[in-house]
């Protein structure tokens, strides 16, 4: 066991980690936007749109993320739509994260009892005010844990982007391994880096959660 040969690759490792974080943040933001739009559509009155969203959710939640990345990267070029690996991974991961986000956000909105909305209407609040002051805060609090754990899974899932040669952290690992032949050390280090990133995000989310959702709970 000798970790020293890896030391000179620290810049590549840092660059890889940055690309991993970029992928994660882009896919998370795009996915959440998809999630909000999807949840609104599911709550809406247009039936075909609801079916479309349901179909999207089931399709993306019941097929492997890896295959989705392959389809975006290898299949779209046959239609003349050639996109670079990083963008392809972003699209595929966003759609994957989006499918989970719709369900999480919908569940968050559904967790608000109907009579609370009615109580707000009785107080003469407008539709927007009811949503903003009565539905949204508790819905956010209820959805928050699920969103954050899904975010960590997304962070770990970005490692699949290495399979279409996105130069994120896991791809860097393969590169270093091919140079040093130190498989054990390389993958041990990579796992530790992912672990550190995942733990940092969990800690960050716990702090944010504790600060953002500390209004009095019912006792």
């Amino acid at each position: 066991m000798n970790f020293l040969p890896l030391w000179r690759y620290q810049n590549q490792l840092i660059d890889g980690a940055i690309v991993t974080l970029e992928l994660t943040v882009i896919a998370a933001i795009a996915g959440l936007l998809i999630g909000i739009a999807g949840a609104v559509a599911l709550k809406g009155r247009i039936a075909p749109l609801r079916w479309l969203v349901r179909g999207y959710i089931e399709l993306f939640r019941n097929t492997p993320s890896l295959i989705q990345i392959f389809i975006v990267f290898f299949v779209l070029p046959t239609f003349g739509l050639k996109i670079p690996a990083f963008q392809a991974a972003c699209v595929a991961l966003s759609l994957y994260f989006g499918a989970y986000s719709v369900e999480i956000i919908r569940a968050g909105l559904d967790s608000i009892p109907r009579n609370q909305v009615e109580a707000g209407q009785c107080l003469g609040l407008s539709g927007w005010q009811v949503f903003r002051h009565i539905v949204l805060p508790p819905a956010l609090r209820n959805a928050y844990p699920a969103v954050t754990s899904q975010f960590v899974l997304l962070l770990l899932g970005t490692s699949l982007a290495s399979q279409v040669a996105t130069d994120e952290l896991f791809h860097v690992a393969g590169f270093i391994e091919s140079r040093t032949y130190r498989s054990f050390e390389v993958y041990a280090v990579i796992c530790v880096v992912y672990f550190a990133m995942a733990m940092s995000f969990k800690a960050l989310f716990a702090i944010i959660g504790a600060m953002a959702f500390r209004w009095p709970r019912r006792r």
């Binding site: 019941n62 097929t63 295959i67 392959f70 490692s159 896991f170």
Partner: protein, 216 residues
């Protein structure tokens, strides 16, 4: 280059055996370990609780791909022995399964009220009898929907074994796609097969959950 034919379809379906085999192996070895982790997590001994929690946290904070590569490429070098691919892959999936199922089942065990343990103790049952006859059956019912949900996660996860050259469904898809130059058809078919495997489980999990909701 040749066109996509029946033989390609057959090779995909044949490769499905390995997908199923990986899932079965992961469950056979992972489930008992998960039960141990879950029981350790609710143990009276703080040291054991913390160790198990740390173990689960660690495995859940590392990508599955990382686990696979570590045990497939890293471990044999470290140990200085040849490890058959199937064993390395099984170890990785076992740990993955144990960590996630362990956490799901812990949730189920903790959801059963403390008073149930006490009631068992009052009836003169031993700790094991309380667990076996009172807590476990209730916890099982509660944790069945997420367990089935995890099964979907596991089936999708076996696609990562393709990266190590393991010829399961996803890998067979790559091979066929390369041979026929028909990525659209091939990957759509592969996705459809995964979908056909996973959707029934997802629907089952949902109906279990709905039934549970009604009984509360």
């Amino acid at each position: 280059m040749r066109s996509f034919s029946l033989i390609d379809f057959i090779s995909l379906v044949e490769a499905l055996r390995w997908t199923v085999a990986l899932v079965v192996l992961a469950l056979v070895f992972g489930a008992p370990l998960a039960l141990g982790l879950a029981m350790g997590r609710i143990s009276r001994f703080a040291g054991l609780r913390w160790t198990m929690a740390g173990l689960i946290q660690t495995i859940q904070s590392v990508p599955l791909l990382g686990l696979l590569f570590f045990f497939y490429f890293g471990m044999p070098v470290f140990l200085g022995i040849q490890v058959p691919a199937i064993i390395a892959v099984t170890v990785a999936y076992t740990l993955y399964t144990a960590a996630f199922l362990g956490e799901i089942w812990r949730g189920g065990l903790e959801a059963v009220k403390q008073a149930q343990w006490e009631a068992g103790a009052c009836l003169g049952l031993s700790a094991w009898q309380q667990f076996r006859h009172i807590i476990a059956p209730q916890a099982l019912r509660l944790s069945l929907p997420p367990t089935v949900g995890f099964l979907v996660q596991l089936i999708k996860g076996t696609s990562l074994a393709s990266i190590l050259g393991f010829v399961e469904l996803a890998r067979a898809g790559q091979v066929v796609s390369a041979a026929t130059f028909q990525p659209l058809l091939t990957y759509a078919l592969v996705a459809a097969i995964y979908f056909a495997l996973c959707l029934p489980l997802t629907l089952w999990s949902r109906s279990l959950e709905a039934r549970l909701d009604g009984s509360r």
